[in-house]
């Protein structure tokens, strides 16, 4: 994944700053609650939502189970339609392929359709290093790029910004990249949108290279499917001579018929629309119409390793709708940047530590960035049991175990920093397996209750810093039971 995110602190520290930022919290709360309510309404309109959700899950699971076969079929279909398929094992390989392809065109710039895969590999930075400028054309991505910022949401990358901040960014930065913002620009949405439209139109009409990702790739025909709301994607797919698409290998669906399910569940889950405004499907090349050169870069970058994990592989069903972000109470407070990845929120908390491994501090902390409330699982249109995977990854962090990295089975050691916790868990287990010991502990706590401090030392400080501790009662229940009903049920 992008080097931009390396060196991120663990989630709790990264979240602390966001929790303390009142503007950010206000922006996030407003945006997530609005879309949450709209999504619920859009979903409730569909009478067979539960069946659609199950169908989406099954199609994805079937495809993942036979991914080798469908990938070969896809390569054959794309090639037959006039495209060229490239295989990239990791981010470096993918970046090298795309950079080489752009250089072959002799062009110094490219227009981009919003794409998670290219963000995941840090493509813009890689192109920049080779003197190629990549222009983001999705409105929110443009705001992020101009603001020298990072996306904080899968669908609404600039969700952490409000209108005033966007006006300031446009006024300050647009002239650096092309057509400047008009004098006296206000923060009304229509004016901001028009400013972006004029700024971008120059780029669409000039560009000879377009770079995209894909929401789906249809194996039977080699068709690239891009769904979007602004029309910028269609501009990028239509006007340039060369189209380069970087697509994660899990994006395959076997047939056109399978799209029927996802083209219903994706827009309703993500933007709360009945149908997304633009659905573009491209199959190879056609003479004198659209791009004359089409390159498909199929990206692994940790996906095969993730597929090898029986519990964790369900994360690959994700269709990037971001419903889980909008409903997550932790995301709402911590913001997307705290997750240290292009995939924030609940899905990011299970996807990033699988794609990247749990070696870094931030990746080892992500499985804990959830209260396991289950709201994410409830809204997921492909039924990814995110809480289940979170707990599974927690196990990997604290206990280590066998995982697949770069195609090889390796045995992970437990992550650092959990020794005290592990000791406490073992001690607790021992006490819980010896009811007498538990009772002795309870009695000791009851007898010393007058001397209990109101604040706790060590990890307990995290509790007593913001909450009062419950008082320990004079008598635990089991003693009361023994005293009043003693011997009634024996001592099982």
């Amino acid at each position: 994944m992008s080097g931009t995110y390396l060196g991120m602190p663990a989630f709790p520290e990264a979240a602390r700053e966001a929790v303390g930022n009142a503007t950010l919290r206000g922006n996030l709360r407003h945006a997530t609650h609005t879309i949450r309510a709209k999504r619920a309404k859009a979903v409730s309109e569909v009478s067979d939502w539960a069946e659609l959700r199950e169908a989406g899950k099954r199609i994805k699971d079937h495809t993942l189970r036979h991914l080798d076969r469908y990938l070969v079929q896809l390569e054959e279909s794309v090639t037959a339609a006039g495209g060229v398929v490239h295989w990239a094992a990791d981010a470096d390989e993918a970046n090298e392929i795309v950079t080489r392809l752009v250089k072959m065109t002799g062009e110094p710039e490219a227009v981009k359709v919003k794409s998670m895969a290219t963000q995941e590999i840090g493509l813009n930075e890689a192109l920049e290093a080779e003197g190629i400028r990549a222009y983001e054309t999705d409105l929110a991505e443009l705001i992020v790029q101009l603001g020298k910022d990072r996306p904080s949401h899968i669908l609404v990358p600039a969700i952490h910004r409000n209108r005033g901040e966007i006006r300031d960014i446009f006024t300050r930065e647009m002239s650096e990249w092309g057509r400047p913002a008009p004098e006296g620009l206000t923060d009304t949405p229509a004016e901001l949108a028009e400013t972006a439209r004029l700024h971008l139109r120059e780029k669409f009409l000039r560009a000879r290279v377009g770079i995209s990702g894909a929401n789906f790739m249809v194996a039977e025909t080699g068709t690239l499917v891009v769904v979007e709301s602004e029309g910028n994607g269609r501009m990028c797919l239509t006007l340039p001579e060369t189209l380069i698409s970087v697509v994660g290998i899990e994006k395959i669906v076997p047939t056109w018929q399978d799209l029927e399910v996802f083209l219903q569940t994706l827009p309703r889950s993500s933007t709360a629309e009945r149908m997304n405004p633009y659905t573009s499907t491209w199959t190879g090349t056609t003479d004198e119409d659209g791009p004359q050169n089409f390159h498909l870069v199929l990206l692994d970058n940790g996906r095969t390793d993730t597929l090898a994990d029986e519990v964790g592989r369900q994360a690959l069903r994700c269709i990037r709708c971001s419903a889980c972000l909008n409903v997550c109470p932790v995301y709402e407070r911590a913001g997307g940047h705290a997750y240290g990845s292009v995939y924030p929120g609940p899905i990011g908390a299970i996807l990033s530590p699988q794609l990247r491994g749990t070696g870094s501090e931030i990746d080892a902390s992500l499985p804990y960035a959830s209260s396991l409330c289950g709201a994410c699982y409830e809204v997921c249109p492909v039924a990814i049991d995110i809480p289940e995977v979170l707990v599974h990854l927690r196990e990997r962090v604290v206990q280590g175990g066998e995982v697949t990295r770069a195609g090889n089975k390796v045995v992970l050691r437990p992550a650092k920093g959990h020794a005290a916790e592990r000791a406490a868990m073992r001690a607790a287990r021992w006490a819980f397996l010896h009811p007498g010991a538990l009772r002795t502990g309870q009695r000791a706590a009851s007898r010393t209750r007058r001397f209990h401090p109101r604040t706790l030392p060590g990890p307990g400080r995290a509790w007593s810093g913001t909450r009062e501790l419950p008082p320990v009662p004079a008598e635990p229940f089991r003693d009361w039971w023994q005293r009043t009903r003693g011997g009634k049920d024996g001592d099982r």
Binding site: P12, A15, A375, F432, A462, P473, R485
Partner: protein, 251 residues
């Protein structure tokens, strides 16, 4: 009917009043209650923090203690969900790891007969009016594992609505997590506290005197936040409300 009370380690140690209320309530409804004193912890804290292998012996212990009973009743949505939802999963994982069917077979008997208290009242005893009296304005927080894990649905609200003297106030954002989340409260204290504060502010906006839930762990977090924010509201377990009568009113 003879049932086993699975009180949970947290309630036993910190909230014995809830246990006494469950005993009083079920006895009043003609249920013969046992408290198997060998019980300790269902293993949820271990399991959810990533110590599945530490949780397995605790689950086995639970099965040993409770396996012989006709029904197991617990006043905790999350511990109930641990047994019903996660014990089968622990069995499946053990099988997937090539450890045979032993764990699954050991845990299977307790899974279908473990009930959260409100579930037991409504589904098994078939009552919604338990003859309670509680003259206070109350708002109800459906805790996450009760709501989504067990699917308690409207059961707790129906029970509360039937309580004489009780005025039920709808809690805004009721289905949002309070931020407790077990060890989450310790591992991510800032986010947890922010979630708790929002929950308390929503509760305050109802004008209720009491916030009620079916899980003392969440109530410990919410109540601790209420006390620190000096709201004047009180956290009360639903069992204590349902056990309260005109003759013996709860405080």
């Amino acid at each position: 009917m003879r049932v086993a009370l699975f009180l949970t380690c947290v309630n036993d140690t910190l909230y014995p009043d809830t246990g006494r209320a469950v005993v009083k309530l079920l006895t009043r409804l003609g249920v013969d209650v046992d408290f198997p004193s060998g019980q300790t912890c269902c293993g949820q804290a271990h399991y959810n923090t990533g110590y599945r292998h530490e949780a397995e012996p605790l689950a086995r212990h639970f099965s040993d203690v409770f396996g012989a009973y006709e029904a197991i009743v617990t006043p905790s949505g999350s511990c109930g969900a641990m047994v019903r939802e996660l014990y089968p999963r622990m069995g499946e994982r053990a099988r997937a790891e090539g450890r045979g069917d032993t764990l699954a077979a050991t845990l299977a008997p307790v899974v279908p007969k473990t009930y959260e208290l409100t579930e037991f009242l409504v589904d098994v005893l078939g009552v919604t009016d338990v003859g309670a009296y509680y003259p206070h304005k109350v708002t109800y927080h459906p805790t996450c594992h009760g709501l989504r894990g067990l699917g308690l649905g409207e059961r707790p609200r129906r029970l509360l609505q039937a309580v004489k003297g009780l005025e039920l106030a709808e809690l805004p954002g009721a289905d949002e997590c309070c931020g407790f989340g077990g060890t989450f409260a310790l591992k991510n204290p800032d986010v947890s506290a922010a979630m708790g504060a929002d929950k308390v502010r929503n509760a305050e906006s109802t004008g209720a005197e009491v916030l009620c839930a079916a899980d003392n762990s969440c109530l410990m977090h919410i109540g601790g936040t209420m006390a620190r924010l000096r709201t004047g509201m009180r956290p009360v377990h639903i069992a204590e409300i349902l056990a309260s009568t005109e003759e013996e009113p709860a405080v």
